[in-house]
Amino acid sequence: MRILLIEDDAEMAGFITDGLALQGHVTLTEQEGRQGLRRAQGENCDVLIVDRMLPDIDGTDLVSEMRGLGLSEPILMLTSLGAIEDRVKGLGSGADDYLVKPFAMAELCARIDALSRRGRGGLGDTAACGTIKIDRVRRDVWREGQRIVLQPREFELLEQLIRQQDQVVSRAMLLEQVWHFHFDPQTNIVETHMSRLRQKLNAGFERDPIVTVRGVGYKLRSDV
């Protein structure tokens, strides 16, 4: 993917650029908001990453301007302001996602992947990933035609994994998408429900389609 990064901290920009390069992404970097806006209009990028605190303009104002000018690329806002109010303002300005510094590179990559796939059409009434099929209306699940009964949270977890199949989905993303929690619980709530989902999905099957990505999250593979 071609990613435009608008970040004034050179060290942070270097860290992000290197991390994204390891994932095969090309990163264009701008240190000032206005220049970044011109670059966004001129270049054809898949995802924009905008820092909240820029030297010449507030990131939320920059995103508002971008949306006002008709830029529709997915925007991820980076910030060291982790307050609830800041997140509300950030997302209210038109950003699609909001990531608080410091973050794990894998978390940033997972969110960028999720953003790049957003807008390619959501799931229909039914969806599938490899041998797993779900009916989103009746909340039914089958694996190789065998019906699996899931609890509501387990179904929502599976639904999110299918929505982002073959991508790493971070623990924080699952907390936001399934539980609507923008805070980090001290207990292993995601792991508990993922473990139960796995047990039910894998009962009677040899291969586990859910891969644990150490220190980051999970990936549902479509080739299993």
Binding site: D18, S80, E85, R153
Partner: protein, 453 residues
């Protein structure tokens, strides 16, 4: 403002009551003094007039004789121009002149009874003087007009006293109401500030009067306190925020080290452990910043009415599995459609903190119960466990930052959980209460029920 209990007078009413009592006593005193002085002056005037008339008539007797005196008395009685009566008697008490009908008066001043022309008995003030020829002259003046005047004066004074008393009572009631309404407004403001709205200030309707000056002084004090609290918040938040940046950079470098040294297994483990430590420190700062943000109250602008029953049910459903994995049971009893004004995620986070505390700090096979019920206009969300409990003297301490129960010292956490829960309860206009569940601990979050639209 808490009204005085039934059967007990409030301080303002008592003060106003005493004011009316003293005011009445003072008025009574003034009225009595006026009455006494008036009566004395009236009596003096009466006596002066009688004495002057008596001297004049004695002069006539001295210079012109008894006959002239009798004629003078006759003329005066015939004219009837004044209220004076005359009696001239000889040494044996026989009438020689004058028409006053009475028993023979004694020499000097006395009060006598006489009969008027209609035969009615009346009272008069009389002065009797012995003339040189052995006769006696009595000059009397009827007391009825003086008594009528005294009655009128007393009536005027009583009417004045009544008007004064009525005015005092009306004034007292008005004063009581005026003071009470001013105090009620101040009290309501103070209650609002106690509830956590630090932006409230005392109403100042008349800046120049005593209440206005008191409100102004209190507002200045509140401004100063707010500035100090804000300053303290900014310092603690600033420290937490500014320390994040260098820690974030250290974390980045450690992550980069992991990428650059994939073959160094031992180094990778060390770096990974360092990242875990840094993440733990960063999450502590995040928790501190979140508490500061909640306490600041600015989030109220985003509050909406939401279904607390649904939010609690959702959290309970998720945590039943977590409790089960920890060999504990979680049961819920949730009243339907309890709506509160607030932030669903914040209240969920408070409940998550309580559930995580209960799961972490109770022994295996403990039971945890979540209950959401209505208590008047309040919603009570309670989390009760049957674990070891917390001694009563430590329950209030647990709400403070970095305070941990004796049994939780070895487990992860910074002792900020209950502090955040209390901040969430207070920003929603509610409160947090800890109590002994015998056995175990009961934690209640009490929130006001949202008004029906």
């Amino acid at each position: 403002m808490s009204e005085p209990r039934h059967g007990r007078l409030g301080a303002i009413t008592r003060i106003a009551g005493w004011f009316v009592v003293f005011y009445t006593i003072a008025t009574l005193g003034l009225g009595a003094t006026i009455y006494i002085i008036g009566e004395s002056a009236l009596r003096e005037q009466l006596d002066d007039r009688i004495a002057a008339e008596s001297d004049y008539l004695a002069d006539i007797h001295r210079h012109r004789g008894i006959v002239a005196l009798r004629d003078t008395l006759q003329r005066r009685d015939d004219r009837g121009v004044n209220a004076l009566g005359y009696l001239l008697t000889d040494g044996n008490g026989r009438r020689l002149g004058g028409e006053l009908t009475t028993d023979r008066p004694r020499t000097g001043w006395e009060q006598i009874q006489f009969r008027d022309q209609d035969g009615r008995r009346n009272v008069a003030r009389a002065f009797t003087v012995d003339l040189k020829d052995g006769n006696s002259l009595t000059v009397a003046m009827e007391l009825a007009p003086e008594r009528a005047l005294r009655r009128t004066t007393a009536l005027i004074l009583l009417a004045g006293l009544g008007a004064t008393l009525l005015g005092g009572i009306i004034g007292g009631v008005w004063l009581t109401r005026a003071i009470r309404s001013r105090l009620r407004a101040m009290n309501a403001t103070a209650q609002g500030i106690i509830s956590g709205d630090m932006s409230l200030r005392m109403p100042v309707s008349q800046p120049d009067d005593e209440f206005g000056q008191l409100a102004g002084t209190l507002n200045a004090m509140l401004d100063r306190n707010s500035a100090l609290i804000e300053n303290l918040r900014q310092v603690s938040s600033g420290i937490a925020h500014d320390l994040r940046t260098p820690l974030a950079k250290v974390r980045q470098r450690l992550e980069r080290m992991m990428v650059l040294t994939p073959e160094e297994g031992a180094l990778q483990d060390e770096v990974e452990r360092s990242i875990v430590e840094i993440d733990a420190t960063l999450s502590l700062f995040s928790a501190l910043l979140r508490i500061a943000e909640v306490e600041a109250g600015a989030l109220r602008q985003y509050f909406r009415v939401f279904d607390l029953s649904a939010a609690v049910a959702s959290v309970c459903e998720s945590y039943a599995a977590v409790a089960e994995d920890s060999d504990k049971s979680l049961t819920c009893s949730i009243g339907p459609e309890m709506r509160v004004l607030g932030d669903a995620e914040l209240v969920s986070q408070a409940l998550v903190n309580l559930l995580e505390n209960a799961i972490r700090h109770t022994p295996p096979r403990s039971s945890i119960r979540v209950k959401l019920c209505l208590n008047g206009t309040k919603v009570v969300l309670s989390v009760t466990d049957d674990g070891h409990g917390v001694p009563e003297h430590r329950q209030e301490l647990l709400k403070q930052r970095f305070t941990r129960g004796d049994r939780s010292r070895g487990s992860p956490g910074y002792g900020l959980g209950l502090n955040l829960v209390e901040a969430v309860a207070e920003v929603h206009g509610g409160r947090l209460r800890l109590s002994d569940a015998e056995p175990g601990l009961r934690v209640d979050i009490e929130l006001p029920l949202a008004e029906r639209p």
